[in-house]
């Protein structure tokens, strides 16, 4: 069978999102938009202590209130189970809701009110009286541990450090951060005929189904999970949270659909956060700037019961060449809700520390920070000895420097000015793993001339609907308006999580296999259908070109594929595809699989009024082949905007008096707004990673946030002489001079 590339390839183009018109007209249906007859509303009651035991839970006043149908708590929620198969069913907060009377963090749910309306449930939730025997708790942001465990090691890191002529020994802190996806976490649970349908704000319908089945004690086929549109997640919606099972149990007990939408405040308490990290970096180099020792000892906080680890050493072992390296880590328990993956988990705080340390080392060496990175570029992944599948960090740095105008940099502190403002310029490298997960897909060619591609993955805003349509269009030659993509439903063939920047790379091979199989089936049908003009032809002599079947290169009257299906009396012809992957991807035994990039940041500083702005960012990405220029660019630019927040604004603060995440709203947890948007110039290098998949695409959802905070704090140092080692950079840090 032949495939014909069209004159204007759809892959790598800038087509609009196929779901765009729905999203801009309010017609895209998100979880909390679902409505059913008899719908009830659930509102959780969060604890108001960070440690202790519930001594009484008085629901009498709340129960007497109008519209209240039930108040669920430890005594009556019914049996919920713990997950026993974490490889298939991942959940970060493993304790089922209301499992005991112990309180381990502020905001832990102690009850939930179900009522006829949201207003009634909200009022009644406030009327539930809970008393606690409070215990001491710890939410200190200062971490200590004597139990460092080695993660990666080569050479003699301590010996090389002590002998080296140029050294750096500094500790970098990134605060607890909260994802604050615009869409509040929500569940709409329907229990009917003994089975659950759960409309969930999830980045992973398949995982959610496994977790829900285990925790609810149901066979998997009794739990269907649906997420058609997700108002973003950034990791906070990767794994289920306790509220999901409160809603499910309420729906089951009451025999009515139940909607539970967390408040913004609850989102800060019991729906995950990026944990605080504290990283001691020791770098040593020769006087001409060859790294000889790199040590990273890092601590991260986690909750009392769960071992979520922020893997800050993810990129350290392979980022730069050094014969001596060691990464060690330890978890420190705090009375906080369980942390979880947040965009670029591990590598993003890790690269803030590593890239900041590289910048500081360059200053000690009196060397250009770009040059320091260039001359410590490794030839292979020195942690494993494996070759990189595709690594172009050097080109990212040199291309970025050129686009930014880095050669005009005067390295002196505060030496550059523009329009009466002091300028600061900073640079950082970045990296993120190339991941792909096992994926199955089905593609149908239908008698109405359309194609339907389905998979139980989901589009969380990254553009998965559109990218899949482009992949199908590329193979079939059909226009996007004849391609329907259906995702976000566990009734579909199992698909990947929308996490780890893995979705695109995961679906590529499965989707293309599936559509090719469907096309081959149509060709076979063309040679078999009784009325077909191609009856008895060898299917191998036929070609599927732009949606029609050609008997040869000079066939002037190709047969539309839908005619063949029609002639055979069928509704559709389908094909299946399957692709490999996972954290134990066999490809990882042969190659070091990562994306790379470089950021150049400019800040403006007005010391007279202590006003700091990020004015300009130039970013160059080496993320393999880009399938959609528009959605890819949007991912990177969006990450840069988030990076401005990470560098300057974002920090979840725990009240030391009561343990509450105290700035639990958009006025006090500050994220970048329109007015904070810098000028951005994003370039994609075009180096398809054909080791990784047949298109050569890697993921782009997270890497843009890696390194950017270090580029910005490097620029702040250049402008002000102040080195920010504890994020975010605060105005009070800058006016201390």
């Amino acid at each position: 069978m032949n495939y014909v590339d069209r004159a204007n390839p759809i892959l790598g183009s800038s087509v609009n999102r196929i779901d765009g018109p729905k999203k801009v007209s309010g017609r895209a249906v998100y979880t909390s938009d679902h409505d059913f007859p008899g719908l009830l509303y659930a509102v959780p009651v969060p604890s108001t202590v960070a440690g202790g035991t519930i001594t009484s839970l008085d629901t009498s006043a709340a129960e007497a209130m109008t519209g209240v149908r039930a108040i669920l708590h430890h005594g009556n929620i019914g049996k919920l189970y713990r997950v026993t198969d974490p490889a298939r069913a991942r959940v970060d907060e493993k304790r089922p809701p209301f499992a005991d009377d112990e309180i381990r963090y502020y905001g832990q749910y102690v009850a939930a009110v179900v009522a006829d309306t949201f207003e009634q449930a909200t009022a009644a939730a406030r009327a539930v009286k809970v008393t606690y025997a409070a215990r001491s708790f710890n939410v200190s942001p200062s971490l200590e541990s004597n139990e460092l465990r080695v993660e990666s090691q080569r050479g003699d890191v301590d010996g090389a450090f002590s002998d080296a002529p140029v050294k750096l020994d500094e500790t970098y802190v990134t605060p607890a951060e909260t994802h604050v996806a615009m869409e509040l976490h929500a569940t709409v649970a329907v229990h009917e005929g003994g089975a659950f349908t759960l409309y969930e704000t999830t980045q992973a319908v398949v995982n959610h189904q496994h977790v829900a089945a285990e925790m609810l004690g149901e066979p998997k086929e009794n739990v269907r999970v649906i997420s058609r549109f997700l108002g973003s997640g950034f990791g906070s919606k990767l794994w289920p949270w306790p509220h999901c099972f409160i809603a499910a149990m309420a729906a089951k007990q009451l025999g009515r659909p139940v909607k539970l939408v967390l408040s913004r405040k609850m989102n800060f308490m019991a729906a995950g956060h990026r944990p605080l990290t504290q990283q001691r970096m020791r770098l040593a180099a020769t006087t001409d700037g060859k790294l000889v020792s790199l040590s990273q000892d890092y601590l991260t906080h986690t909750s009392l019961l769960d071992d979520y680890k922020e893997n800050c050493g993810e990129a350290t072992p392979f980022m730069y060449s050094t014969p001596n390296l060691r990464v060690r880590s330890a978890l420190v328990r705090r009375n906080v809700g369980t942390p979880t993956s947040m965009r670029g988990p591990g590598a993003i705080p890790g690269l803030f520390a590593l890239e900041s340390a590289m910048d500081e080392l360059a200053i000690k060496l009196n060397m250009d920070p770009v040059q320091l990175r260039l001359q410590n570029e490794p030839k292979v992944d020195e942690s494993t000895g494996l070759p990189f599948s595709s690594r172009h960090l050097t080109e990212c740095l040199t291309e970025g420097a050129k686009r930014f105008g880095w050669n005009h940099r005067n390295a002196g502190i505060g030496a550059m000015t523009r329009d009466g403002m002091t300028l600061g310029w900073g640079v950082a490298g970045c990296s993120w793993i190339a991941l792909r997960f096992p994926t199955e897909a089905t593609v149908e060619l239908r008698a109405d001339g359309t194609v339907r591609a389905v998979c139980a993955t989901q589009d969380i805003g990254t553009g998965t609907y559109t990218v899949i349509a482009q992949l199908i269009s590329d193979v079939t030659g059909l226009p996007l308006d004849r391609i329907e993509v259906v995702l976000g439903d566990t009734d579909l063939p199992p698909g990947p999580i929308s996490g780890g920047s893995a979705t695109t790379a995961s679906v590529i091979n499965a989707m293309r296999q599936a559509v090719r199989q469907a096309m081959e089936a149509v060709l076979t049908l063309a040679a078999k259908a009784p009325n077909s003009p191609l009856l008895h032809r060898d299917p191998k002599s036929l070609a599927f070109v732009n949606g029609a079947i050609r008997a040869g290169a000079d066939d002037t009257a190709p047969l539309p594929f839908q005619r063949v299906i029609e002639m055979a009396g069928g509704a559709s012809v389908s094909g299946q595809g399957k692709s490999e992957g996972g954290f134990d991807d066999p490809l990882k035994k042969k190659y070091s699989l990562h994306s790379f990039g470089a950021h150049f940041a400019e800040v403006t500083w007005q010391p007279e009024i202590a006003r700091l702005r990020v004015s300009r960012i130039v970013t160059v990405m080496d993320g393999g082949r880009v399938i959609n220029q528009k959605t890819a660019r949007n991912q990177i630019e969006g990450s840069l905007v988030m990076g401005v927040g990470m560098a300057l604004f974002e920090e979840t603060l725990y009240d030391q008096r009561n343990g509450a995440p105290i700035n639990s709203n958009f006025a006090d947890y500050v994220v970048a707004t329109h007015a904070d948007t810098p000028q951005m110039d994003v370039t994609f290098l075009d180096h398809p990673d054909l080791v990784f998949n047949e298109i050569g695409a890697r993921g782009l959802g997270e890497i843009g946030l890696a390194g950017i905070a270090a580029a910005i704090t490097g620029a702040i140092h250049h402008a002000t002489g102040i080195r920010i080692r504890r994020l975010p950079a605060r105005i009070e840090d800058l006016i201390s001079t």
């Binding site: 018109p21 207003e119 615009m182 108002g231 707004t673 329109h674 951005m680």
Partner: protein, 168 residues
């Protein structure tokens, strides 16, 4: 599913309000605690308007009341008796988009789409407001609408394209 009616409030808890939404008059008997946002979403099932904070801090719930943009989560429905409300559903449909909606698609002025209704409602209002010509002017007037995906650059480009077309 045979379920009882949604509202089982005692009659003395009801407030009757008449609100014209997207040109159509709705007479609602509502709990006086109901925000305009919740009335639109939970009673009128106009779910294009989103809840992102319920505190007037994020802008996802932006609608027009008598032609001006407001955060509908900060407004009690009961005080809008007789008012005219426009929601995203009243601005355009998928096959008949308002120029701003079309510009948002063209410029990819969103990712997840959750803040998008609010961004567009703010932007439609901005077209009539005294806003300077520069991108920075638009950024200032749009800063009440948070986009956590960070599609700000594209949102401003979409707004500026429509403003440009209106001037010429």
């Amino acid at each position: 599913m045979n379920a009882p009616a949604r509202t089982t409030l005692t009659p003395d808890f009801y407030v009757t309000v008449g609100i014209k939404v997207n040109g159509q008059l709705h007479t609602l008997s509502i709990d006086p605690r109901t925000s305009l946002l919740d009335a639109l979403r939970e009673q009128l099932h106009l779910t294009g308007t989103k809840k992102g904070c319920d505190h007037g801090q994020c802008g996802a719930c932006t609608v027009h009341v008598n032609g001006r943009r407001i955060n509908s989560c900060l407004a009690l429905a009961a005080v809008h008796d007789g008012d005219e409300v426009t929601t995203i559903e009243g601005i355009g449909q998928p096959d008949h988009l308002h120029p701003l909606q079309a510009a948002f698609v063209e410029h990819d002025g969103f990712q997840c789409g959750y803040c998008t209704s609010g961004q567009i409602m703010s932007a439609v209002a901005l077209l009539q407001e005294p806003c300077g010509p520069r991108d920075d002017d638009v950024r200032e007037l749009m800063s009440g609408n948070i986009c956590r995906c960070g599609a700000y650059k594209n949102i401003v480009a979409a707004i500026q394209q429509v403003r440009q077309n209106r001037r010429t």
